[in-house]
């Protein structure tokens, strides 16, 4: 499918979302909205310490509280044969600590669950949790990313020295040689602070065991219900998949945090079966800050080698990645394959070498959060490009243009494993420069500086990678799962269509976009199409939604099934029209004989014939449905240019956003309105990392940002409206030509803002400040600067 200049059908049109009527009327169906008669409620007893030995647990007072049905501890779960939560991506020599759903022996982060209360109401369950007395022997805590490996306190096996893995990519020798030739070397240490995902819907789970059928049903806030079923069933609870149904109804945002298997759903599922009663648990926001997997948390040393004229010759990076107390499901992949492979950015860098050390600390586990490794890479390379420009006295635009991978070089093999599918970087940069009015802006910036106003312009000519693939490669790199996507398209006798997709929307609008694909391909109204997702009892095995994969993979799987259906329908049409199959055309929902448009059958004539099978081709099976699993040959690589314009107030350090331009190339778009929406939200999250958000722990490992009073999720009055634009370079690796749009904003915007702030502060001689660029940090830097702002 090529990009239509002007969409002529549903594909490519900004169609209003079909899921919205239920959401705007309060009729959405989120996990915590589900009530089952006779349902009990769970509350967890959590460690107030970051690191402690559990000496004893006395639950007698809790058990005696009226309305309490049971109290369970980790010892009971272990005795019942409940396994620990496994890791889904293994690296060479990786250390995988045992992670029980309820702690046994030791707790390793504040908020780790040590016991569960099952009670008749959530209020009683919470009361009872407060009555459980746990005797702890408090141990020193390891919290600092950079020094964890040298700490005398060990979280796990002392021989590990708090290291989970040491990993590298690229050619160290070639990189050394590049530095030997360099005329300029730019070095910088970067902190990429820890973030919390903060999906507005807190995690929740409800389990119901049906003794009559021996089936356990789990409703859970999941981005990937089949992954939940597979891992919880096969690896943790020992449940056969055909007797274990996982349903993720409407999911209120995820941003990665709802990919993973968490202790609470394991406990709720197990306890429901054990007690024979339905049980619901819903996280409080405080619990979310303590237990939802967090993101980022890197300390990196970067060095860039450049020629005299600003050509990048090599890049050397050493990163320490804080993984938290345990390895969350896909945590090993995030700071390695999803990070270091993107360090080439949009540039032709002949030699790159990166080593990554993953460390354990007494903090909440870290895993994929919107962008997952790519924002860390993008921030590093885009800051380095701007630093290099500053050091070499070049324009941040010129140095980027000089090093861009040229449009005729695709597919392009980078020095860090990836082969970019397609790209054309200059038009996106040109469009962004035009939209922001760069020439005029430089004049205004100079004028403002004369008046003591500090305006900065920041660039991010980013690249990112979506829909990791193919499965065979992912498997070779350590993935314990395939990375395809599935679709089953069922055409009903009267011509309406149900799509069963392995993707699962948690805000992306798949019920709309996937129906657009079907309506386009079959020439039928969108009202005739329903999309079913999020239920392992209805949908074939699928991998779920994360990594901006659903359009490229889930959408393509649907497209493949539709081709199979059209092919079969043509056979039926040929039979009914008494024509050769090769002569049958299908257009606008009609089958006709080429050259004789009056010899025609409606789509519904064919669908009915397929199920009646009276007047029917010999040897053809009745029915009209098709299943496909789409496993592409490569990732897709969206790209673009973001430009931020900010003003830093000298007397307060406050950053005002003046302008934000985002030109993204996400390949073909199914629904530009939805793409715009995801870009807006992504930009907001990336700006928040640049300016405000940060998860903090004190040296004892106590979280200092465990509520929305301390953790600075941006509000409407902190942001501005964004100016978005597009170039379109279709991806050649999937039949829709789409690339993925869910994370571009988050990936691109953090360095754009950081570069803008540093540019604003350049009159003070400031070349770098670590994010988040809070007023206190900027004010302090300006106060102590030598340049004095002149």
């Amino acid at each position: 499918m090529t990009a239509p200049a002007k969409p002529t059908g549903p594909f490519g049109a900004s169609i209003k979302r079909r899921e919205d009527p239920r959401f705007i009327t309060g009729a959405g169906n989120y996990t915590d909205d589900i009530a089952i008669p006779g349902m009990s409620h769970a509350a967890f007893v959590r460690s107030p310490h970051a690191h402690a030995v559990i000496r004893s647990i006395d639950s007698s007072r809790a058990e005696a509280l009226p309305g309490v049905r049971a109290v369970f501890t980790g010892e009971q779960l272990a005795a019942a044969g409940v396994n620990g939560i496994p890791v889904g991506w293994l690296l060479p020599n990786i250390k995988t600590p045992h992670r029980p759903a309820l702690a046994t022996g030791r707790v390793r982060h504040t908020g780790e669950a040590v016991a569960v209360i099952i009670a008749n109401s959530p209020y009683i369950a919470r009361d009872a949790a407060d009555l459980v007395k746990v005797d702890y022997e408090v141990l020193p805590a390891v919290t600092d990313t950079a020094t964890a490996h040298a700490h005398e306190t060990h979280l796990h096996d002392p021989e590990w020295n708090n290291r989970a893995f040491e990993w590298s990519i690229g050619d160290a020798t070639a990189t050394d040689a590049a530095f030997a030739q360099a005329k300029h070397v730019v070095t910088q240490r970067f902190l990429n602070q820890r973030l919390a995902a903060v999906a507005m819907e807190p995690r929740a789970s409800i389990a119901r065991y049906d003794k009559a059928t021996d089936e356990l049903t789990l409703w859970v806030t999941s981005q990937n219900p089949h992954v939940h079923r597979l891992i919880m069933g096969a690896f943790i609870l020992g449940l056969a998949e055909h007797r274990f149904r996982v349903i993720a109804p409407d999911v209120g945002g995820g941003f990665g945090s709802k990919i993973f298997i968490y202790p609470e759903e394991v406990v709720v599922a197990w306890a429901s079966k054990k007690l024979g009663i339905p049980i619901r648990w819903t996280s409080t926001r405080t619990e979310a800050f303590l237990t939802d997997a967090q993101g980022r948390d890197h300390v990196s040393e970067a060095e860039m080698a450049l020629s005299a004229d600003g050509k990048v010759l090599g890049l050397r990076v050493r990163t320490i990645a804080n993984l938290g107390a345990y390895l969350s499901l896909f945590s090993p992949a995030v700071p390695t394959y999803l990070y270091a492979t993107l360090l080439s950015g949009a540039y032709n860098i002949p030699a790159i070498y990166c080593e990554v050390h993953g460390v354990f600390t007494n903090t909440t586990p870290v895993d994929a959060y919107r962008g997952a490794g790519r924002p860390e890479a993008c921030y590093l390379i885009e800051r380095m490009m701007s630093l290099a420009a500053q050091q070499l006295g070049m324009s941040p635009v010129d140095i980027r243009r000089k090093n861009f991978i040229p449009a005729d070089a695709f597919p392009f093999q980078t020095a860090v494993a990836l082969a970019y599918d397609s790209g054309n970087y200059e038009p996106a940069l040109d469009l962004a420069l035009e939209k922001v009015g760069y020439t005029q802006l430089l004049v205004e910036q100079a004028e403002a500086r004369k008046k003591g106003r500090y305006i900065g312009i920041g660039f991010s000519t980013y690249i990112e990678a979506c829909s990791i693939a193919p499965s065979q490669v992912a498997g070779a790199l350590g993935a314990q799962a395939g990375l395809y996507e599935s679709a089953h398209v069922r055409v009903h006798p009267t011509g309406s269509v149900t799509v069963f997709t392995g993707s699962h929307s948690h805000g992306q609008g798949h019920e709309t976009t996937f129906a657009q694909i079907v309506a386009q391909e079959l020439g039928i109204p969108m009202d005739s199409v329903d999309v079913v997702h999020g239920d392992t009892g209805k949908v074939q095995f699928g991998m779920g939604t994360y990594g901006s994969r659903s359009g490229a993979l889930g959408g393509s799987a649907i497209y493949m099934s539709l081709q199979k259906i059209k092919e079969k329908a043509k056979k039926i049409a040929a039979h009914l029209l008494e024509a050769a199959e090769a002569d049958i055309e299908f257009e606008g929902g009609k089958f006709f004989v080429r050259g004789s448009p009056d010899r025609v059958k409606q789509f519904t004539d064919i669908t009915l014939a397929a199920y009646l099978a009276h007047n029917y081709p010999a040897g053809l099976e009745p029915g009209l449905e098709a299943t496909s699993f789409f496993d592409p040959t490569n990732f897709t690589f969206p790209f673009g240019t973001h430009i931020a314009v900010v003003e830093v107030e000298r007397v307060t350090g406050h950053v005002s956003l003046l302008k934000y331009v985002a030109v993204d190339d996400v390949g073909n778009m199914i629904n530009p309105m939805i793409v715009d929406g995801m870009v807006h939200g992504g930009i907001a999250q990336g700006i928040a990392q640049a300016l405000w958000e940060s998860v903090h722990y004190d040296t004892d490992g106590h979280p200092l940002s465990a509520s929305l009073m301390e953790y600075a999720v941006p509000r409407a009055d902190q942001l501005i409206s964004f100016d978005t634009g597009r170039t379109v370079t279709p991806s050649p690796v999937n039949p829709l030509g789409v690339k993925g749009a869910g994370e571009t904003g988050t990936i691109a915007s953090t360095p754009a803002i950081a570069n803008a702030v540093v540019d604003a502060l350049s009159p003070f001689g400031i070349t770098h400040l670590d994010i988040p660029l809070t007023p206190a940090k900027l004010w302090t830097a300006m106060q102590s600067a030598q340049g004095g702002g002149n």
């Binding site: 979302r17 919205d20 507005m200 409407d250 805000g507 929406g677 999250q685 942001l719």
Partner: protein, 156 residues
């Protein structure tokens, strides 16, 4: 247990409640009005916003007994003659929602915002919504939706 009578979306509801039960839990668990959501436990996020006697309140910060005798409007009760409220229409039209979780609270706050200021500037909309957190939209289309609703309601 304390007996309370609250008029919810026009219907008088008499119930015996535990005095410590929050209004939001009363609405969700007792009346099965699950459109009002709980997104935090510190009254920051605004997902639980409802109208009490026409004024926005975060229903996680009010005990059900405190609402005794008052009229509560939730997202389920804002339709006008069976049609979407103009604010609901505007959120749909302008793509002012993605995951939908903050949406009920956001719509109720926006309705109250226009009640106080029928013709707000972008800045006034942004300031007016600072008590409601959205993590999906970056607020861009929410601001557009409120402006569109204001225009529509002024023209009507």
């Amino acid at each position: 247990m304390t007996q309370i009578t609250i008029t919810v979306n026009g219907s008088a509801e008499q119930r015996d409640v535990d005095p410590r039960v929050l209004l939001v839990h009363f609405l969700r668990d007792e009346l099965a009005l699950t459109g009002t959501h709980v997104g935090c436990d510190t009254s920051q996020c605004g997902a639980c916003t409802v109208l009490i006697d026409g004024v926005t309140v975060k229903s996680c910060t009010v005990l059900a007994v405190q609402a005794d005798g008052s009229a509560v409007t939730t997202i389920e009760g804002i339709a006008v003659n069976g049609e979407h409220h103009p604010m609901q229409t505007a959120f749909w039209q302008e793509h002012g929602l993605q995951c939908g979780f903050c949406t009920p609270g956001m719509i109720l706050s926006s309705i109250d915002l226009l009640r106080r200021n029928p013709n707000p500037t972008e800045e006034e909309i942004r300031t007016g919504l600072e008590g409601n957190i959205c993590r999906c939209t970056g607020y861009h289309n929410i601001v557009k939706a409120v402006a569109a609703a204001a225009k529509h309601m002024a023209d009507a």
